[in-house]
Subunit: 224 residues, 2 copies
DNA sequence: ACGGTATTGGAGACATGCCTCTAATAAATT
DNA sequence: AATTTATTAGAGGCATGTCTCCAATACCGT
């Protein structure tokens, strides 16, 4: 029905990821992406309505790819402490396997011009964040984390801490060392609520306790 | 002997900090800084040889201010675990007191165009980083951290973890809550090497043990 | 009062990036 | 083969930013 595309969306996004990873979000310009794939700028505008749309798609594709695998790991173990450790390791392993996309995760949606996104893109980001926060908080509850501060600690242990390890190495321009998974897992384990089983054998988790009227988390903050 | 300056260096850097905090390093342009203080662009170029110099100065002034107070805290306690906890709290308190400068710390030198800095600026950055790493690693040794992985864990506990708390709140556009210091201190304490005193009373630290031929840390990575 | 000098004030050349618009192109459908 | 249609191809207007340059300025020490 029509001429076949020479430059498809994925190809352009791949180039955008490379640019963002090496030079930060500011360096992913419409012309830079076009030049990176050898296309005229018009072809880029044919796929994306403008720079905010391109930035939104790069960010969302990357974050959603990460979040999907991450939340899957979060839910893949029956034993909560085990799930927590596995999640921590997963952040490292995923980043090692996708160093350029991991470099993107170290920024925030704001750096990708979230202020100018379309309502659809914003909603997509919020939905993904909400799902991820829900998965994290569910595991937190299973771990016995109650209250605002305990939840913050869980987020720290499951997301921020492993990401910090990634950040330190990627910022230095280095690859993630082999022991990074162990380090992340140990640190995450150390941050789990006291009384949590320190090793493999599962302790009976405390009876599910109604947590009362607690405020809902906001979906518009990036977990990563 | 000469006409008095209407726009001095500090004033321009202050404006640059505000711009960087609100819109990221990319938004601190020569013209934006000039406009922010009501100066013609020529006056900005009178103080800074170009954009890389301006970015370097903003970054270095901010990081050096932080590092100075931070290393002071690191060395201010005789009891190593106490010093570690105090350092963690200090990161939070400093960030709460200087939210705009703290927002800068969440970026890296690379985001402030380190690639185009003068050798002098680069050397200044390296020197500050080296001093900070030294202070952190000294405390790490006093805490019994030996080996590469143990040192990484110390850096994580003393720097990355409290900074993660700051990042999460500032990225969300919120102020640091009152309990942030407690959270940071508790998490830092949980990450200290096992056997470290969990509470106030100081345990006798293990006899200083020669750590053998270990590689020196590199001063060109940002601790923050 | 006067000259020296750091600084302001601002015009403008040059580069880059965003985005629009129009024409050419090439495959799929009929 | 003719038609349709998504796409390429690229010129060009507009805005913004970097940096240079030069004259005007206002204070200082003498």
């Amino acid at each position: 029905m029509a001429r076949p595309p020479r430059f498809d969306t994925e190809q352009l996004l791949d180039a955008a990821v490379r640019l963002a990873a090496s030079g930060g979000p500011a360096s992913v310009t419409m012309s830079a992406v076009a030049q990176a794939v050898g296309a005229p700028s018009g072809s880029v505008y044919h796929r994306f309505s403008g720079r905010p749309a391109l930035l939104a798609e790069v960010w969302l594709r990357t974050v959603e790819r990460f979040q999907e695998s991450y939340t899957a790991v979060l839910r893949s173990h029956d034993d909560p402490p085990l799930a927590a450790r596995a999640a921590s390791r997963h952040v490292i392993a995923w980043s090692r396997h996708h160093p350029e996309e991991a470099a993107l995760l170290l920024y925030g949606a704001a750096d990708f011009d979230r202020a100018h996104w379309s309502p659809e893109h914003t909603a997509r980001a919020d939905a993904g964040n909400r799902r991820t926060f829900t998965a994290v908080h569910d595991l937190g509850e299973a771990l016995g984390a109650n209250g605002e501060q305990a939840r913050e600690r869980i987020t720290l242990a499951l997301i921020d801490l492993p990401l910090s390890i990634v950040r330190r190495h990627l910022r230095a321009g280095a690859e993630l060392p082999p022991h990074a998974e162990d380090l992340a897992e140990q640190c995450t384990a150390a941050l789990l609520p006291p009384g949590t089983a320190p090793a493999t054998p599962a302790t009976g988790k405390p009876p599910a306790r109604d947590s009362g009227p607690e405020e809902q988390h906001r979906g518009d903050r990036d977990p990563v």
